[in-house]
Amino acid sequence: MEINKLITQQSSWLSGEGKDSDIILSSRIRLARNVENFPFTTLCSIEQREELCKLLSPVIIDSLGAENIHKLEIDKLDRLDKRILVERHLISPDMESEGKGCAAIISKDEQLSIMLNEEDHLRIQCIKSGLHPQETWETINKLDNAISNIVPYSYSSKYGFLTSCPTNTGTALRVSVLIHLPALSLTKSIDEVLTGVTQLGLSVRGFYGEGSEVLGNLFQISNHSTLGKSEPDIIKGLLKVINQIVGFEREASENLMNNLKSVTEDKIWRAYGILHNARLITSNEFMSLSSAIRLGIAYGIIKNISLKSLNQLMFLIQPAHIQKYLNLDLTSEERDGHRANIIRDYLKNSEVK
């Protein structure tokens, strides 16, 4: 597979389209499954892992269409390529470091990514742009049923789908949205909202998932429990809370414009200025600035950058992407310089006149 090609194309879920896409970047569902008559992944030998890949790949490829997917053997990839897949949210850091006997099947539009032999035998992920968890579930459910018709899953009528870690047992479903909450952050209401979210049985994480810090006012909000409710109910539950939060964000956003207009506009235009002119930018700084730009786009203040471009830029400025793009081994500072260049060029070329 051409990882080089991958970094120049656009992930379909970065399109900036879909419901509430000014606030919700994407909806994601992850399903975990294990195959009966094999131990869970950590206890599998290399031969067993290869057997599992042989068992599962044909069914998956058949269901999605061989012309629509890339199949990757993770231990055959070099370090940089694996990093790129992590940066594009296609494989997990766990798979990046493990690698032995692992494979990934990725749809060409990057909407679907199936990891084989990560923490569980099968980790299926589907991501769509905007607030569309139900459609995401329909896509992933279809694939799950296609696999289940041919390969027997580890399942118990009492506990549901059996996973290596009990925190995932039952539906083994993790549904999350990537949500941008700049107004709530700026008006200092964010802590209250997030505490409320946790009390309702949901988890909040930063942009890079478990254990990551909050960058660019981006939050991943997901269900916490996977056992005891049906899949549609879990999704409905999350949707209800997210809709409320979107409402709060829009309210706070309006407040900002009414009460802190000049401060907010200044913040947005300063970010615009820096991105167009700076010679050194770190990833973290970019995330902060892009949050202000995103807010500016939502307000209609910034008219010549699209959400699609901003999202794409968010991927391109990541460390491994830069190194691959320039085909160079770079130090952190050199990267910061190249990052600034890439940003200036990209904005120049993609701006709507």
């Binding site: 294990n34 009966e36 094999f38 131990p39 869970f40 950590t42 206890l43 923490e119 459910n141 049923n145 289940s148 018709n149 041919i150 390969v151 027997p152 899953y153 580890s154 399942y155 118990s156 009528s157 009492k158 506990y159 549901g160 789908f161 059996l162 290596s164 870690c165 009990p166 925190t167 047992t169 039952g170 539906t171 479903l173 049985g201 429990s225 996977t226 056992l227 005891g228 409710k229 049906s230 899949e231 109910d233 879990i234």
Partner: protein
């Protein structure tokens, strides 16, 4: 430990308060039942009379029902993959699907803590499950149903009853 009543191997440990004195009593499973000291009844203090031939235990308050000692719990091993409960506690991962049956009771509490429930309410796999699995599932679902009934959670019990019926039909058809 040897059973106080019949001298067989005793897995169950009781602490009995009698005349302000604490005594430890070891009983095997069948003598535990004979005395009426099953885990459900021990929660209802009014039912706690020990009816044994040894009158010194008369009507006492059974303070604690410890099913197994910590050591014994930790050494329970999954017959299929060899994972011990101790390993699971340290690593946080189970070894195979059989572990869920092996550590059934121990995992139940953990699941309730994490998820607020220990019963799956979502989809079933679209393919055909293996029959052997069904039998152990039927047994554990039945136990859960009885617990629901004793707690008067009749709606939940009815759901479980229906699920058991489906599994029994599946078994009958194979």
């Amino acid at each position: 430990m040897k059973c106080n009543d019949c001298d067989k191997d005793a897995k169950n440990q009781f602490i009995i308060v009698m005349d302000n004195e604490k005594k430890t009593l070891y009983l095997c499973d069948s003598c535990t039942e004979t005395r009426g000291l099953t885990s459900e009844s021990s929660k209802d203090i009014s039912k706690l009379h020990t009816h044994s031939h040894d009158d010194t235990f008369g009507s006492n308050i059974v303070l604690k029902f410890a099913a197994q000692s910590e050591e014994e719990k930790n050494s329970i091993t999954c017959p299929k993959c060899g994972t011990t409960y101790d390993t699971f506690k340290k690593v946080g991962r189970l070894g195979c699907s059989e572990c869920y049956t092996t550590f059934d009771k121990l995992i139940d509490d953990l699941l309730k803590k994490i998820h607020g429930s220990n019963i799956h309410a979502g989809k079933t796999p679209s393919g055909n499950p293996s029959q052997g699995k069904n039998e152990s599932d039927i047994i554990s679902l039945r136990k859960e149903m009885e617990i629901c009934i004793s707690k008067e959670e009749f709606e939940k019990a009815a759901e479980l009853r229906d699920r058991i019926k489906t599994l029994e039909v599946q078994n009958g058809n194979k």
